[in-house]
Structure formats: structure tokens, C-alpha cells
């Protein structure tokens, strides 16, 4: 069996005295990984832990065989992880074009993604090059956040609830983009709250409940079983 792209083992993270990640364990083995769960279950904390943005109490995270625990965020990003945070975190002082140019960098000589290619992927951004990143519509802001991660030429793209607050037609574009990127060989790690949206991207679900992966299996099973949905996601029929 090939080495997993990303492997998390018995990860424990605390915020003050609250135990957020309680022994999270999983392996990401193919190009697409969708993590779902209700609010407050630890999804965002997990993503931040992978990026080195929150202190880790114990456990291990390996990316392409390299240990990430103990590395600084910029070292983790430079190993080839692109990060699209929840809420997008654009820089109000930078224009659209400046966002892409400040983040653009080749990795191991690979420069597949340039600002120009991001503009080809999202032509709407090209029309707004000179505007401040925070003057864009929600969908455009999300495209920019994704573009900003892509120009670092990552091997793995982590997106934390990118569909949050977006119009349905933009969400469709987002789903297309996820599929397109993973088909083209980039590993995509998608965190999502919406079961149906995640199910339209991937076949296999990973459900997080109170800091652990409680279910790992086909979306179909979840969609067919109201009991399981109630148990893992707390949503009725």
C-alpha cells in the first residue's frame, strides 16, 4: 500500500482546559478527503493543528512521511500544504493582485500555479485585480483565498468550510473546482458542515464527533440512515 498523503495519529489538542481533539486518528490515502461534522466538533482545530497554528499536546501528524508536529506554520506550508482558512482571512490592505503576488512561490522547482493561471481559473478575479480583496463579493473572496493557496504550488490543499455563506451557484463552482483540482493530481482536504454538499464531492465520508473520527465510510450509508445522521451529525430526517 502506498504511503498516505497525510496521517494523523492520536492527536490531542487543548484550548485552555477544554480538550478539543481527543485522540484524532486517520489516514488520507487518496486525492480527496472530506471531513464533516457539526459546529464545535473540532474540525477547524484539526486543520489549524495540521498547519501548526495551535499548540499540540501530544500525537503525531505526518505529511508525505514527514513529521509536522513541532514545525512552524511557514515550514509546514513550505513542505507543500496550501491553506484556505475558515472565514477566508484575506488581507484588507492588499489588492486582489497583491494577494496572489505576495503568496506566489515555486516548490521544488514546480511552478504550475501562477497568478495568471489563477486568473484563467477564476476570470472574475482578473476583472477585479486592482480592488481591495475585502471589497469583493463572498464568492469572489473565496476564489481569491483559494487562488492565494494555489499559487504556493501545494501538493495538498486544505479548505476549511469554503462554502460557508455562499450562493448556491458559487457553491456549484466550488464543488467543480475541488473535483477538477483533485482529478488534476492535487490532494484536496475539504472540511464541510453540509452533508449533501460533501457527498456531492466525494464518496467516502469522515465524520468528526467531539474531537475524534466517529465514522469513516460511504456517504450513501449516512444518507440512507436517519439514525446514523442523528447520531453523528445531530440532524433529523
Amino acid at each position: 500500500m502506498p504511503e498516505p498523503i497525510l496521517e494523523v495519529n492520536d492527536l490531542h489538542v487543548y484550548y485552555g482546559s477544554s480538550h478539543i481533539l481527543q485522540g484524532t486518528t486517520f489516514a488520507m490515502e487518496d486525492n480527496l478527503f472530506t471531513l464533516i461534522g457539526r459546529n464545535g466538533m473540532g474540525k477547524t482545530t484539526l486543520v489549524k493543528a495540521i498547519m501548526g497554528l495551535v499548540p499540540i499536546r501530544s500525537g503525531s501528524i505526518t505529511f508525505q512521511g514527514k513529521q509536522l508536529v513541532g514545525l512552524k506554520p511557514h515550514q509546514i506550508a513550505r513542505l507543500g500544504i496550501g491553506y484556505v482558512p475558515q472565514g477566508r482571512n484575506l488581507f484588507p490592505s492588499l489588492t486582489v493582485d497583491e494577494h496572489l503576488r505576495m503568496a506566489a512561490r515555486s516548490r521544488n522547482g514546480v511552478r504550475d500555479w501562477t497568478p495568471e493561471r489563477v486568473y484563467e481559473l477564476f476570470p472574475r478575479l482578473a476583472e477585479r485585480k486592482r480592488q481591495s480583496g475585502t471589497n469583493l463579493s463572498g464568492g469572489e473572496q473565496q476564489m481569491l483565498a483559494i487562488g492565494r493557496a494555489l499559487v504556493t504550488n501545494p501538493a495538498l490543499l486544505i479548505m476549511d468550510e469554503p462554502a460557508e455563506g455562499l450562493a448556491p451557484v458559487i457553491v456549484d463552482l466550488l464543488i467543480e473546482t475541488c473535483k477538477h483540482l483533485s482529478d488534476a493530481g492535487m490532494a484536496v482536504f475539504l472540511v464541510e458542515q453540509n452533508l449533501h454538499l460533501a457527498a456531492s464531492v466525494d464518496d467516502t465520508a469522515q465524520v468528526m464527533v467531539t474531537g475524534r473520527i466517529a465514522y469513516s465510510g460511504p456517504y450513501e450509508t449516512l444518507l440512507e440512515s436517519p439514525q446514523m445522521r442523528e447520531q453523528y451529525l445531530g440532524v433529523g430526517a
Binding site: M51, L53, K72, P73, H74, I76, A77, R78, Y83, P85, N89, F91, P92, S93, L94, E98, H99, R101, M102, A103, R105, R148, A149, T152
Partner: protein
């Protein structure tokens, strides 16, 4: 208009040049690192003393009086940059993210440095000798605005010119270069910059060096025009704080605007009501904070 008003306005404008240079380093460091560097005034005073010492000890190395002065500027810029980096790497880095400790630590350094300088160079107030090429006066005819003819000290004009050049260079750096984009992004959200693969500590270092160099240069220029000695460090710190709070912390344009306001109000009150300049300065501060708590050009910070 009264002659004193014109004098106050012009002196205020020139003084604003120095205030802007001092405040620009302070505001850059605060904007990016959220460190209120209380040792900033001590660094200014250190630069002035170094410029003075270099000038006294190397005067016979050069034919022209400009030589030892320029050497003083260079040495002061280097020493203050090194001292600032030592402060960052030796002390601040170990309490990074704890803003109260960072501030108290720099305050401790400011007090210690102030006392060491007092011990080394005594309590007399001194000035750096103006080199010959900056001596003399320049006539300024304000008749076209209905004003008088003023004679301005050339060294003050040189200082103001330097401040304008420093301002333009900083603006180009911040708005046009990759380092500038990273600094602006870092002011908005440091953690996000790191998560894009940029070593924020190196950016901090670059900004500290930049701030140190500007402070070093302003110390020698300022020390040539305004007498310096014990207490000037805290004066300059207070002025920088007022300039930067009024202008908006972290904003370069705000530092320029704040310097202009503080400089003009300070010199105008000094010319018209010599008893009240301190009250006037704090009045500006209070009014600004009441009307615009983030400062004139300040923004809301993203916490991270």
C-alpha cells in the same frame, strides 16, 4: 496674520519632519509586531550621543566638517539597528505574543539604557555641531500668501528634506515591493502570512533593522538642531506615542498626518502661548481619541 503665527506654522512644519521620521519606525514595529517599543526614545537619544561622540573623535580625520558628521550618521544608524535587532532577538523573541510582557520589557530596557547613557555621558545637554555646508540661513518669502519674510536655518531644511526622502522611500517600499506586500499583509494578519510559507520572524527582523536605521539617522539630524541629554529619550517617546496614536497605530500615512498635527500645534502654542504646549498636545490626543478611537487613519486589528 501675526508674525508669530507664521513662525509657529513654519517651525511646526519643519519639526513635523523629525517627528515623522521618529514615529515611522515606531509605527512600523507596532503595526507588524504589535510591540509598543518603549525603548524607541532611548534609541533616538543613543543615536544622538553616538553622532556626537563620532563627530568629536574623528573631526581631524577629514578635510571637511561634513566628513565626521556623515560618519556619525552612518555609525549611529548601524549601532541603533544592531541594538534594535539585539532587543528583538535577545529579549523580545522569548516573550513573543505576550503583549504586556513585550511592552514592560522594552520599558525596562528604556529605563536601563537611559541611566547607562546618563552615567556615561553625564547630565549636560548637548548638540551635534552643524557641518559647514548646512550652516547659515535660507530666506523664505511668504509674501505670496500675505506672510512675512522668514529666515530659516539651513540645517532644519536639510532635516526636513531628509524626512521627505525617508517618507517617499518608505512609501515606495511599502506599496511597491514584495517586502512591502508582506509587511502590509502581516499588519493585517500575521498567522495567515506564516501559513502561506513566509517566515514572519525574518520579516520582523527586516522591519526592526529598517526602524533602527531610520531612528539612527533621525537621532543625529535631530541632535544637531534640538539639544539632547537625560530626559530627551522619554520626551521623544511621549511625542512618538502621541503622533502614532493620533495618526493611527501601524499606519505610515497616519504617522505623517499625526506628525504634522503634533508638530504644528506644538510650535504654534510655543510661539503664541509658551506656557501651554504640553496641554495642547494632550488636548489633541484626547480629542482624537474621543472622536476617532483608532486614530485618524487607524483601522480595526485582526487578532492573530
Amino acid at each position: 496674520m501675526d508674525m508669530m503665527v507664521w513662525i509657529g506654522l513654519v517651525n511646526g512644519l519643519l519639526y513635523a519632519g523629525l517627528l515623522f521620521m521618529i514615529a515611522s519606525g515606531f509605527t512600523l514595529v507596532f503595526g507588524l509586531m504589535r510591540i509598543v517599543n518603549m525603548a524607541h526614545g532611548a534609541m533616538y537619544l543613543l543615536a544622538a550621543y553616538i553622532g556626537w561622540l563620532v563627530q568629536r573623535n574623528t573631526a581631524d580625520w577629514f578635510e571637511s566638517s561634513a566628513g565626521s558628521w556623515i560618519l556619525g550618521v552612518v555609525v549611529a544608524a548601524v549601532v541603533v539597528a544592531v541594538a534594535t535587532v539585539a532587543l528583538q532577538e535577545g529579549l523580545l523573541r522569548w516573550v513573543q505574543g505576550d503583549e504586556l510582557r513585550e511592552t514592560l520589557l522594552t520599558l525596562g530596557v528604556a529605563i536601563a539604557l537611559g541611566d547607562i547613557m546618563h552615567g556615561l555621558w553625564g547630565g549636560d545637554h548637548r548638540t551635534i555641531r552643524t557641518p559647514d555646508f548646512m550652516r547659515g540661513f535660507q530666506e523664505l518669502d511668504l509674501g505670496f500668501m500675505g506672510g512675512p519674510v522668514l529666515f530659516l536655518a539651513k540645517n532644519q531644511l536639510y532635516m526636513f528634506g531628509t524626512a521627505v526622502v525617508v517618507g517617499i522611500l518608505l512609501w515606495l517600499l511599502i506599496s511597491r515591493t514584495q517586502l512591502g506586500r508582506i509587511i502590509r499583509a502581516g499588519v493585517d494578519n500575521r498567522a495567515m502570512v506564516s501559513a502561506l510559507g513566509i517566515n514572519i520572524n525574518r520579516v520582523f527582523l527586516a522591519v526592526m533593522i529598517l526602524a533602527g536605521v531610520i531612528t539612527g539617522v533621525s537621532g543625529v539630524l535631530g541632535g544637531m538642531i534640538y539639544a539632547f541629554g537625560p530626559g530627551i529619550d522619554m520626551n521623544m517617546l511621549t511625542l512618538s506615542l502621541i503622533v502614532v496614536i493620533v495618526g493611527g497605530m501601524g499606519s505610515l500615512g497616519g504617522a505623517a498626518l499625526g506628525a504634522l498635527l503634533v508638530g504644528v500645534v506644538d510650535q504654534l502654542t510655543l510661539a503664541l502661548y509658551p506656557e501651554y504646549p504640553t496641554i495642547a498636545l494632550f488636548a489633541i490626543l484626547i480629542v482624537t481619541l474621543l472622536l476617532r478611537p483608532k486614530g485618524l487613519l487607524g483601522r480595526v486589528w485582526v487578532n492573530a
